[in-house]
């Protein structure tokens, strides 16, 4: 029955007990609505047929309601409405009260990516890994505008507000991969602000997180201090690549020549860029840095002014690392000689 109705209504699979409860209420509401609708429209249909006009100028009697009519009109729907509310409201309250001992994950929305950080340091971009069968509490915030964390399979949604934390919790019951949407309009790439929820068997998750903790000896909450962490030692290009990924540059800039929200990074260094003002400039270190700190100042022709400023969000060593990384990105063919202007062809839009 549950499965049948779920499929009939196009509802996604139920990943938690909460999802099952909510669907139960959904079915109750929809069935009552259908029955009530059927009764009302059947009555209307009977009236329309029975009392259709048979000749012009027919006269009709005056019919006035009795008190009990109005009482029924008010009482019956109100009883149902309040009953639904009495079922639905506690379900909602439950999602606002995480059970003690839930595992905390910090969620940070930012144009247009999700960043997940676990206690003890590990963090990841656009992939939220959780163990099966354990309650997980999400502490959600945003770096810029309002976003909303939404997993249809969990029947859960919570806005990510800049400047404050909101929370919700869930307990997934089946391992698998599920899509996370951003459900609050947040600009150009709102519909591209997707992430993945990966539910792992508990043991696998434990192994993963232990691995992460070992690998990244970050003592702090990444979400709370993003941007201020010391760079883990490795080559500067590797650091640059990692910062670019963590900061989300790669959400808008490709490194393989494809045109995305922003211009590609490949062969950017030394390229002649035409600006919206008509001016042509050469992309040198200063320009690259300025583009990160004050992107609106010089806009590349053909692109929207949507790049956020990274002023204060990256430490100077990080900025330097990113610049070095961008400088290293060259197509093999021209890597040997001096830069010969733009080599990449913007892929034609459909």
């Amino acid at each position: 029955m549950n499965e049948f109705l779920r499929k009939l209504l196009f509802l996604p699979p139920q990943l938690s007990q909460h999802a099952r409860d909510v669907d139960g209420l959904h079915f109750f509401v929809i069935i009552t609505t259908m029955v009530a609708g059927l009764l009302i429209f059947a009555t209307a249909l009977v009236f329309m047929i029975r009392y259709r006009r048979r000749q012009e100028g027919e006269s009709t009697p005056e019919v006035q309601p009795k008190h009990w009519h109005e009482a029924v009109f008010v009482g019956v729907p109100l009883a149902f409405f309040l009953l639904w509310f009495a079922i639905g409201y506690p379900q909602y309250v439950e999602t606002t009260q995480p059970p003690p001992g839930a595992m905390d994950v910090f969620v940070q929305g930012k144009k247009w990516m999700w960043k997940f950080a676990y206690q003890g340091g590990p963090s990841s971009l656009d992939v939220l890994r959780v163990p099966v069968g354990r309650p997980v509490r999400l502490l959600i915030t945003s770096r810029d505008v309002i976003h909303s964390f939404y997993v249809p399979e969990l029947r859960l949604k919570q806005d990510a507000l800049p400047g404050r934390y909101t929370q919700t919790w869930f307990q997934a019951e089946q391992p698998g991969r599920y899509q996370v949407f951003c459900a609050e309009y947040c600009g150009l790439s709102h519909s591209g602000m997707l992430a993945e929820l990966v539910v792992l068997p508990a043991a696998e998750f434990d192994a993963w997180i232990a691995d992460q903790r070992r690998g990244e000896a970050r003592a702090q909450d990444a979400a709370l201090s993003a941007g201020e962490q010391a760079l883990p030692g490795s080559s500067i290009l590797e650091q640059g690549r990692r910062v670019a990924a963590d900061q989300g540059c790669l959400k808008c800039h490709s490194v393989d020549g494809t045109r995305h929200i922003g211009p590609t990074f490949i062969d950017l260094y030394g390229r002649q860029e035409k600006l919206t003002t008509g001016e042509v400039i050469t992309a040198d270190e200063a320009y690259l840095t300025r583009s990160m700190m004050d992107p609106a100042a010089q806009l590349v022709a053909g692109y929207q002014n949507v790049m956020p400023s990274f002023q204060g969000r990256m430490t100077p060593p990080e900025v330097a690392a990113v610049v070095e990384y961008i400088k290293s990105l060259k197509t093999p063919a021209v890597a040997a000689g001096p830069s010969e202007g733009p080599v990449y062809e913007p892929t034609p839009r459909k």
Partner: protein
Amino acid sequence: MSQHLESSPPVYAERNYLNTPATGLKSWLTTLDHKRIGVMFLIATLFFFAVGGLFAMLIRIELLTPGPTIMDAMTYNRLFTLHGVVMIFLFMIPAIPSGFGNFLLPIMVGAKDVAFPRLNLLSFYIYLLGAVIALGGMIYGGADTGWTFYTPYSTTTTTKVVPILLGAFILGFSSILTGLNFIVTVHTLRAPGITWNKLPLFVWSIYGTSVIQILATPVLGMTLLLVAIEHAFGWGIFDPGRGGDPVLFQHFFWFYSHPAVYIMVLPAMAVISEVVCAFSHKNIFGYKAVAYSSLGIAFVGFFTWGHHLFTSGQSAFNAGIFGVLSMFVGIFTAIKIFNWVATMYRGSISFKTPFLYFIGFLFFLFFGGMTGIALATVSLDIHWQDTYFVVAHFHFIMVGSTIMAFLAALHYWWPKITGRMYNERWGLVGATLVVSGFVFTFLPQFLLGNEGMPRRYFNYPERFQALNVASTAGASVLGIGFLIILIYILVSLKYGPVAGPNPWGSRGYEWLTPSPPPLENFDVLPAFERGPHEYHELPGSESAAPGAGTSHA
């Protein structure tokens, strides 16, 4: 065209508001006559309906396939914003109250005009000014914030939000002035014989609408102004970076915009109460219940705004209060629906085009309303908030029921406004196409919402495509339907048969005067002995029921 009309002698008021005192464009633009102002509002709002509809069609084509179909993301984001803004502020809010309300309300209370005719004309020009500014903003670049203008997105985006906000701010004053005018007119200009309990239900509902317009619009005006100031100067009222509270904006916005949805639906109910009586040829079942429930909606509607904020992190206590109160708002609509259905009982129902729209209206209001109640149960809303389920909910109510009522009004009062009849057979075709196209467009969207597709999505995962294609297909039927209506109704202006004062055999007061009405509405003021919804025979009097086409003028 029905039989009896052709047999009755054509009655066309020779001197009417359309040709007295003059017919030139100037005489229209400077007119103080509420009927002409109403007609001008109707034309303007219909124009914006077509503009908004065009945007809607582009949206639907874009959503035919995942990824870019005919435009890029930026264009799409602007389009749905402009679609929402145009449809709500430029079409839906003024259409029935300022258009039909202006035309009919003074006639229905037996007045020569509204209380402040100059203010009325001013209201029209303020509307035009707001529309021009908003339109200018759109041509100049348009905003990409959604019609809800949520901060801090709206205060930081680089698109041209300020002219759009300013336009909406100015339009608010038009709405306030009209509402004010109506309230004063109903209070002070009722003709002798029209007591509060003999007021047409149309007037009751418009009265309720006016109350909301007056109470809610100033708050919206202030809020939009704050956003504009914030965008222009960065004063920080809603900017979390400066200690502001972005959710406060949402409270302010919905404090207006929830009541605003009743500004849109109450006039629709106003129309339907008239139509159901006229075409069932029967008295309204439960006059008082229908009349007072309008005021109930106007009142309780002010305390439910928080149901738009269930996922925004407001306290669970707030969510509970707003949820419960939303349930109570539903009751007033339920009362009306039951009473309309009961009105048909023992009636004499004639299935003219307005009545067909009444059937469509009933269907959409019921399902649109019940999905509203489902949304208000809080836990379900968490899944549906900002998905296509919400889009379907409000299109069911706003497009479904309100546009049905708008079309019912257009057909029902067309002979009164123009003196001519439209073609009934084409009317049937149009109504069938619009109602079925409508179901096809928005039913799939409920399912899309269930499946989890968020709204305002330029791009979507492949699995949502089938339902999107269905929705687009439905929209094209809808578009064709509207086009047909537009054509036959324009044709009838010239070729339609003359209607006579009362082609429907209605008891409404507006049918006691010739069509089109004379300059000051009544050549001789009737006594208004009967209620506007009374169809039964009075004891002693024979053939008291006016046969269709009988002249009273």
